[in-house]
């Protein structure tokens, strides 16, 4: 969906390097939210469409105002609600109990700890691409689209022509797969775009941006409707 998370090219956010920005997190609770989110995923306690696609559903104003791990906290709660693991209101009631001085419960389960760490240490390489429609060196155009659901096709490359740089592997289209559908795996390409084609003439010497795109997002550059002749 074309939400606030799709940030490439936006203005107005200020400096990148600021005091404290070098650390992965600032407070202990942020580390615990990170770990808890991974853990409930590994343990199958959350419903679709997964943390990443869920965070994109945050109302744009909230997404932009939230800190990084507040967004993770939000998606953890939504995922747990969707699976029925927790019910709306339960977190708020626990907040009141803790605020009232009730101690936090502790529970030890060494098997769960081992399971989680083993899962995170495990790699799962994608399968090699089979027959690919495009080859390195081919010019391709990113399709125009405005998908209502999850997508990994950033706005700033749509409609732009680039050159296929690599054929990475085959993967299921996330636009469908995050909702539990099982489309056939399709080639994923690295497509290189010239800065002039993305942004026009800029103040910096030309550069390139390579974006990883599923075959469904791409078409031959000649495809599509010709420009309207009557447009002035």
């Amino acid at each position: 969906m074309d939400g606030a998370h799709d940030l490439g090219g936006m203005h107005g956010f200020g400096a990148v390097v600021t005091p404290g920005s070098d650390a992965p997190y600032h407070d202990r609770w942020e580390a615990r939210v990170f770990a808890l989110h991974l853990l409930v995923g590994v343990e199958g306690l959350t419903g679709r469409p997964g943390g990443r696609a869920t965070r994109e559903q945050m109302p744009p104003a909230e997404y932009l105002a939230a800190s990084y791990y507040e967004r993770w906290l939000w998606s953890a709660e939504r995922g747990l609600e969707r699976k029925g693991t927790i019910r709306p209101g339960e977190v708020e009631r626990m907040m009141e109990r803790l605020a009232g001085g009730e101690p936090e419960p502790a529970r030890v389960d060494r098997a769960q700890a081992r399971r989680a760490v083993a899962e995170l240490r495990r790699g799962e390489p994608a399968e090699p691409a089979g027959a690919a429609r495009f080859a390195p060196g081919d010019r391709v155009r990113v399709r125009r689209m405005r998908p209502a659901g999850h997508t990994r096709c950033p706005r700033y490359v749509r409609g732009v022509v680039g050159v296929v740089e690599r054929v990475h592997f085959a993967d299921r289209l996330p636009d469908l797969a995050v909702y539990g559908e099982r489309p056939a795996p399709e080639p994923v390409y690295a497509v290189r775009f010239r800065s002039e084609d993305l942004w026009g003439e800029g103040r910096e010497p030309p550069w390139t941006v390579s974006v990883d795109l599923w075959e469904s997002y791409l078409e031959a550059p000649g495809a599509g409707r010709p420009a309207e002749e009557g447009v002035r």
Binding site: L7, A23, A35, Y69, Y156, E204
Partner: protein, 209 residues
């Protein structure tokens, strides 16, 4: 001067009740018997102590001293890092991209915060920040300048937006003045930012012959 209050600076700090809310969610799951506090601790430990940029630095140092390894790394990143015992979530489809005298690579994820965890650990706050994700694809040299990295005009900047399940690792150039250094010593020059592309390795003045 702090840039926190510069016009347009956007680095939201957590709301006051976020901490309480986070504690409550964990307490709720623990009280339901679904989550163990030591399992949460174990995941944190994994990324604070075991997995971090020292892994990526080992890979780069090996590539600097062993041309055959470098070739394997650039051809098939995942297999090459597995040779060194490095694997795991968010690193299973690794592509290593090499800096040269004419090319400088930098990585980003404009849509979220994809990052090669097994090689670099968890990303710094700036990597996940709105300004980095918004700007590095649209004005890379201005962003690199904030890190103190100025590149000659004839160097081509290549930005890699990790929009699929590929995770990128930048292989920086081996700096001059390190002839005869062993892998372990070379690895000390390879910082996290060098492998993201917002820095290049520098030989400390004291270490120069």
């Amino acid at each position: 001067m702090s840039q926190d209050h510069a016009p347009g600076a956007h680095h939201p700090r957590p709301a006051a009740d976020a901490e309480l809310r986070a504690r409550a969610l964990e307490a709720l799951l623990v009280s339901k018997g679904l989550v163990a506090t030591d399992a949460v601790d174990a995941v944190i430990e994994l990324y604070e102590h075991e997995v971090g940029p020292h892994n990526g630095a080992r890979v780069v140092a090996r590539a600097w001293v062993d041309p055959a390894y470098r070739e394997r790394l650039l051809a098939d990143g995942t297999s090459a890092v597995t040779e060194l015992g490095i694997a795991g979530a968010e690193g299973d489809n690794l592509v290593a991209v090499a800096n040269t005298p004419t090319v400088h690579n930098v990585i980003v994820c404009t849509l979220c915060s994809c990052y090669p965890w097994p090689l670099l650990g968890l990303p710094p706050a700036w990597y996940k920040s709105l300004p980095y994700r918004a700007r590095v694809v649209a004005e890379p040299r201005a962003v690199l300048g904030e890190f103190g990295l100025e590149l000659p005009d004839d160097v081509e900047v290549r930005v890699w937006d990790s929009s699929a399940e590929v995770r990128y690792l930048v292989v920086p150039q081996r700096p001059a003045g390190t002839e005869g250094w062993d892998e372990q010593r070379l690895a000390t020059l390879v910082t996290r930012d060098c492998m993201v592309g917002t820095a290049v390795p520098r030989v400390p003045a004291a270490a120069a012959p």
